[in-house]
């Protein structure tokens, strides 16, 4: 068995590189640079994140793969290309995530459910074809490592599409101009990795009971403060 190397969180930044992004791609690149800086200020969290950056348009290009950002001097620069094919992006994630999770486990990591930051202006050109690819990606039966998807709308984003892409309503964001998108992603990533250490209460009400009555044998004899 491989050496036990601890928990890691695979993070995928999936950025829209379609022609309609031309007006905001500069902001997007500045955001990635800020994300890099913000994560370096949190060395514990950064050690547990593996970063992948995918740019999508009519096809998907891998700009960075499972990188440890502490050892990357700079992040790749996104461009603009052609159409906005959401289906291609979700299909690429469906192929990539299981492979990546298996590779990380092979190295000896325990892998937390991946997080996808989906950055777009919310105007897919493959409506409604992308929805089948999306459904496969987020279905935990079809994709056991189905990611949490945080959808960030930028530029003139359509809120309805952003909500449809986010796996929970609270994971849908529409960035207003001037808001530091990279910082927002960094904060979210750090919160996620801290929540790995942050044991949470399991919500398994059918398997547990809440202590609501004083046991007969109870004696309060402890003074902690």
């Amino acid at each position: 068995m491989a050496e036990n190397l601890g928990n890691v969180l695979p993070v995928y930044v999936v950025a829209d590189e379609s022609a309609s992004m031309a007006g905001v791609v500069g902001e997007l690149n500045a955001g990635l640079a800020e994300l890099h800086r913000a994560l370096l200020r949190e060395p514990m969290a950064a050690a547990k994140v593996r970063f992948t950056i995918l740019g999508f348009s009519d096809d998907v290009r891998t700009r960075l793969s499972l990188a440890d950002l502490r050892t990357e001097a700079t992040l790749p620069v996104l461009g603009t290309r052609s159409t906005t094919n959401y289906g291609a992006a979700f299909e690429a994630l469906s192929r990539q995530i299981p492979t990546d999770v298996a590779a990380l486990k092979e190295q000896g990591h325990a892998v937390y459910r991946p997080a996808v930051f989906f950055l777009t202006d919310g105007q897919p050109t493959d409506e409604p074809g992308w929805r089948a690819a999306y459904d496969r990606l987020v279905d935990k039966e079809a994709t056991p490592a189905a990611p949490n998807i945080i959808a960030c709308g930028i530029g003139g984003a359509r809120a309805r599409t952003i909500l449809d892409v986010a796996t929970r309503p609270e994971f849908a964001f529409v960035a207003t101009p001037g808001v530091e998108l990279g910082l927002a992603i960094a904060e979210f990533s750090v919160a996620l990795t801290k929540s790995i250490v942050a044991s949470a209460r399991a919500v398994a009400a059918d398997k547990t009971e809440l202590v609501v009555e004083r046991p007969n044998s109870f004696v309060m004899a402890v003074d902690v403060v």
Binding site: M1, E3, N4, L5, G6, N7, V8, E42, P43, M44, A45, A47, K48, V101, G108, H109, A110, V111, Y112, R113, P144, A145, K194, S195, I196, V197, A198, S199, A200, R201, A202, V203, A204, K207, T208, E209, L210, V211, V212, R214, P215, S217, F218, V219, M220, A221, V222, V224, V225
Partner: protein, 277 residues
């Protein structure tokens, strides 16, 4: 230092929530039958962001039976007074077990856990809130808890019973071989754990023999996650150092190893049977 260390930094002071909380707690002593070592250290993430240590332990000797009662707990970090929950649970459970032994009875493990849960509820009563005390205890003080009762045998070996709520774990280390008392399921790792004041509906103690030369180790998930199945570098380092009881501060130093990604609070408690006199 094991493998790649955590980035170096000086720990920040913990936020003062609910009183003084030391970064590190250490204990150690020997009774006629056992040697005990225990330590609880603040995790590197908590040292970095100024959060108090949310793990704790308690350990007592029972004079009448020569038994050792011990507990380790990991306060659920999403609740405000997690560290107090951990301390209350450990001390309540060990106090309760000592009372059971005083009465010459066998422990009723669900009752021991229920009493520990109730200690949280009683404490929660004194805290602000409009919710009922059980809900308040859950909101403020949730904690995992693992409790052990270790009784000596005439041949110098021992028998231990271990009962737990949540993801703390016990191991027996014997001749360099690790045996985990609980099996975890792999797959995609989940964050949530069962925690007091909730009790699993099915709750029982595992029993295990401790031959002379072995040690019972109890650890919170900060230890369990790093140790894994004991086959890696952490398992090798611990096995090399814990074949016999090290001095208490050495035990704490061992526990406080630096290795990247392992930044949770860590608590470990060892009970070594001393063998026939």
């Amino acid at each position: 230092m094991i493998g790649t260390p955590v980035a170096e930094f000086e720990p920040r002071p913990p936020r003062r929530v609910g009183g003084y909380r030391p970064d590190t707690a250490v204990d150690g002593w020997s009774s006629a039958a056992f040697t005990v070592r225990a330590a609880s250290v603040r995790g590197y993430q908590h040292r970095h962001d100024g959060t108090p240590r949310q793990d704790d332990f308690a350990v007592s000797w029972h004079e009448g039976t020569g038994a050792v009662v011990a507990a380790v707990a990991d306060g659920v970090s999403s609740v405000e007074l997690a560290h107090l929950g951990a301390t209350l649970a450990c001390r309540s459970a060990t106090d309760q077990l000592v009372r059971v032994l005083d009465a010459g009875e066998e422990p009723d493990w669900p009752d021991v856990m229920r009493c520990a849960g109730w200690a949280l509820v009683e404490f929660a009563r004194g805290q602000a809130g409009a919710d009922n005390p059980s809900a308040r205890a859950e909101r403020l003080l949730s904690t995992t808890l693992l409790v052990a009762l270790v009784r000596p045998r005439e041949d110098g070996s021992a028998r231990a019973q271990v009962c737990r709520v949540g993801d703390s774990t016990g191991w027996v280390l014997d001749g360099g071989t690790w045996t985990c008392l609980t099996e975890e399921s792999p797959g995609i790792a989940e964050v949530a754990t069962v925690a007091l004041p909730h009790l699993p509906r099915e709750l029982r103690a595992e029993s295990v023999d401790l031959p002379v030369g072995s040690v019972l180790l109890l650890g919170t998930d900060g230890v369990g996650g790093a140790l894994g199945d004991g086959a890696g570098l952490v398992g090798a380092a611990f096995a090399g150092a814990l074949g016999s009881p090290p001095p208490p501060l050495e035990f704490a130093r061992l526990l406080d190893f630096s290795r990247e990604t392992f930044d949770d609070d860590r608590t470990m408690l060892g009970v070594w049977p001393k063998g026939a006199p």
